[in-house]
């Protein structure tokens, strides 16, 4: 498959075939990652800027490792060391980075739409590593790789429950798009205070009771609960949240046989997920991390070796 996209901003840009192509490519890199020598010369001489304007450890490390295993040179720019803290605008920071001629920029930013903002202004590839509440496409793709391996590549007819703070979650938004694109059914469950408005316009079923929501599902994705939601008045207290919306083995007993548990991390043990469940055989949390490196290798490879630039605007299609 010829890869024509300049940027990865959100899953909505990709067709189902393109998603499958990413997963197939990632499976190949996953095999490389199991070799004693994990480095290949694929992107030798290419440079990738890791521009993380919001705190992140695992995603940044995952991209860094992905780039280095492909022999690309990676340059990390954290918010604390960047000019953003000196009052420089995002546009000026971006143009400054552009002037150094990188082949790609991986951006993490607290503002929804920040990745698109960069992509509209830069000639190099922009990979969205999470923008505000909007999108986290590489997380959704690594989740899909994890489920794909579990399910033998078959998503049609499967049902996935996404549980927790949907309103503030870019992981949830990207996963809804990706899972439905591959033919899975998606359920959402969380307290009303943590659900986004107008869910009637989303292709999902909405539940307020975890036991009902977990009935016969093939996978549950727990979302991290940001502890500041309680201070913002969206929750009375964490204990009550854990009791009402935390995922426990009793919920998994209601799920379909062989159902698995995912979590994008980092985990608040005993809050959104029972601690033992996170370590159980159903939990694929560490495999997600492993697949994350492979998916990001696949994406850096596809976007940095693309044959021709996008014909149209880099904006997100409706």
């Amino acid at each position: 498959m010829q890869w024509n996209h300049k940027d990865l901003l959100d899953i909505s840009q990709l067709s189902a075939d393109e998603v499958r192509h990413v997963l197939v490519t990632a499976a190949y890199f996953r095999e490389i990652n199991s070799r004693p020598v994990k480095k290949v010369p694929t992107l030798k001489g290419r440079s990738v800027v890791l521009f993380f304007a919001e705190a992140s450890t695992r995603t940044k490390t995952s991209f860094d490792m992905a780039g280095k295993r492909l022999s690309a040179d990676t340059f990390a720019l954290a918010k604390s060391s960047s000019s953003l803290t000196k009052g420089e605008t995002l546009k000026d920071t971006a143009l400054t980075l552009q002037a150094m001629n990188p082949d790609g920029i991986v951006i993490r930013h607290a503002s929804s739409g920040a990745a698109q903002f960069l992509a509209e202004r830069l000639e190099c590839s922009v990979i969205n590593a999470g923008d505000g509440r909007h999108a986290h496409p590489t997380q959704a793709l690594l989740d899909a790789l994890t489920l794909s391996r579990r399910w033998g590549g078959e998503f049609a007819g499967k049902t996935v429950l996404i549980l927790g703070d949907i309103a503030h979650s870019r992981v949830a938004r990207s996963n809804v798009l990706l899972l439905t694109k591959l033919g899975a059914n998606v359920r959402l469950c969380g307290p009303r205070t943590l659900l986004p408005p107008r869910l009637d316009t989303w292709p999902v079923a909405v539940y307020s009771n975890v036991a009902k929501a977990a009935q016969d599902v093939d996978a549950v994705m727990c979302l991290r609960l940001q502890l500041e939601r309680q201070q913002a008045g969206l929750l009375p207290d964490l204990r009550e949240y854990a009791r009402t919306f935390g995922l426990s083995p009793r919920h998994m007993a209601l799920a379909a046989p062989g159902a698995c548990v995912l979590h994008p991390g980092p985990v608040n043990r005993g809050v959104e997920i029972d601690s033992a469940l996170a370590d159980s055989a159903e939990s694929l949390i560490l495999e997600q991390v492993e697949n994350g490196v492979a998916v990001r290798m696949a994406l850096l490879y596809l976007y940095l070796t693309r044959k021709s630039p996008d014909a149209g605007q880099p904006g997100i299609p409706a």
Binding site: T89, Q116, T201
Partner: protein, 468 residues
């Protein structure tokens, strides 16, 4: 008027504008009106093809002459019906006659943020955009909460545009717009403030708003309230709905406006005091206002061209140019506002002209300031609503002229003898593209940037003198 305005007895006419197309009624001297009957060339239906009236509702289109002396209308008569001569003659064939418009809600940024706009450039945009009177909000730096700022504004206006457009400052309701202490409103009124508002920093305390309304009533001034529940509106600039949900943006629900509108009309009813509601954006607020008017509450309301023509879909590509407070809403809200403007529930139009420099808008969406630059585009945008039959011509006239002028005590031209000779010759076919080169405001922050509009002001007469 005390002076004699019989056009045949006025010895010296200063200006005669000939053969303009006028869609409204004639209010001229009776003798002039009688003369019309013998002038078949100026009758409706003889305007040739294609009709310039298009789908305009209830057109009374006829060609007229505008006769002006000493800055005032002497008469509006059927074209060629009076054999009079003026010191200055203007040929208006092919152009539409409109009274000069009044904008009750602008932000001119001076003093303090002259890089966005200043009084000279704001008035230039007003002149070119067809506004003879504009009112400007108090959220300058320093805030217009004392008479010296008001006097400074008026002096800047006099120096830049001695012949108008006329500037009418709006005073701050509270000191520093902080919502804690009343501003010195008697001083401000004496210095020239025509109304009072905390626009830009909505009044959270209902008690304080009550006292401000009482105090203003003694001064014969109206309080203008920016209706926004400060606790229910965490994401100003985007409507809470389908688009915000998909994009993952903190958003403002329409009830943040409607709840405060309900508070305001209940206060006005309880106090027997007037209130004016700024930039109404949603159907729920319309329902609140309609119910209040049915109870004879002294409430007036404005909406803006962008709320009548654009929806939340403008934000879909994270376009910060469409970030405005209150936010663009839904198609249903647009339709409800158009109906409310037509039937008078919404009294007037205003631009909420809110210029911001390009570099301020060209940032990530969260960080962009709210506001749309509107003085240059408002007439073209709203005239398109008239042309397509969506907004009756009479409602258009009321909304841009008589309603704001009567509410805030400003000069208004209804083309009756003695009215100020503020009028426009409007070329409704002129096509133009919105951009920094075609706009007179310093800031081109509008979602219409790069889009084509129809209709431009060909001439603007203010008190009988050409300013454009």
């Amino acid at each position: 008027m005390a002076e004699n305005n019989n056009p045949q007895q006025v010895k010296k006419l200063d200006l005669a504008v000939r053969s303009a197309l006028w869609l409204g009624p004639l209010k001229s001297h009776s003798k002039a009106s009688n003369a019309k009957a013998s002038q078949p060339d100026s009758q409706p239906g003889k305007l040739g093809q294609p009709s310039p009236l298009g789908k305009i509702k209830n057109p009374r289109g006829q060609l007229v002459d505008v006769l002006v002396a000493r800055g005032r209308i002497v008469a509006l008569v059927p074209a060629g019906s009076l054999d009079v001569h003026a010191a200055e003659e203007a040929d208006a064939r092919g152009l539409l006659l409109l009274p000069g418009l009044t904008d009750a809600h602008t932000h001119l940024r001076e003093p303090g943020q002259e890089y966005k706009e200043d009084i000279a450039s704001g008035l230039a945009a007003a002149a070119a955009g067809g506004f003879s009177n504009i009112m400007c909000m108090a959220n300058t730096r320093p805030v217009n909460d004392n008479a010296s700022v008001t006097e400074f504004m008026l002096e800047r206006a006099r120096r830049a545009w001695p012949g108008g457009p006329r500037l009418f400052p709006i005073g701050a309701l509270t000191k520093g717009l902080k919502g804690q202490e009343l501003a010195s409103m008697a001083d401000l009124a004496a210095a020239g403030c025509r109304a009072f508002s905390n626009d830009g920093a909505p009044v959270a305390s209902t008690e304080l708003l009550r006292r401000a309304m009482e105090y203003c009533q003694d001064l014969g001034r109206v309080v203008i309230d920016h209706c926004e529940d400060p606790w229910l509106a965490p994401g100003a600039g985007v409507n809470e709905g389908e688009v915000s949900s998909r994009l993952g943006l903190a958003a403002q629900p329409d009830i943040a406006e409607a709840i405060q509108a309900a508070r305001d009309v209940l206060l006005a009813e309880y106090l027997g005091a007037p209130i004016h509601l700024a930039h109404i954006s949603c159907e729920k607020s319309v329902a609140v206002i309609r119910a209040a008017k049915a109870r004879k509450v002294d409430v007036t309301a404005e909406t803006c061209p962008h709320y009548l023509t654009l929806t939340e879909d403008e934000v879909a590509g994270y376009s910060s140019l469409a970030k405005v407070n209150p936010p663009l809403r839904t198609k249903a809200d647009v339709e409800a506002l158009l109906d409310a403007l037509a039937d008078g529930t919404i009294d007037m139009l205003a631009t909420d002209h809110a210029p911001h420099a390009a570099h301020e808008k060209e940032v990530e969406f969260d960080a962009a300031p709210c506001g749309i630059s509107g003085l240059d585009t408002a007439l073209s945008v709203t005239w398109e609503l008239v042309r397509t039959g969506r907004l009756p011509f009479d409602s258009f006239l009321r909304a841009w002229t008589t309603a704001p002028c009567r509410r805030f005590g400003l000069p208004v031209n209804t083309f009756a003898p003695g009215d100020p000779a503020d009028f426009l010759l409007f070329d409704q076919e002129a096509a133009w593209v919105v951009g920094p080169q075609t706009m007179h405001s310093k800031s081109a922050n509008t979602p219409l940037l790069g889009r084509g509009l129809r209709g431009r002001v060909a001439a603007h007469f203010l008190a009988g003198k050409s300013i454009v």
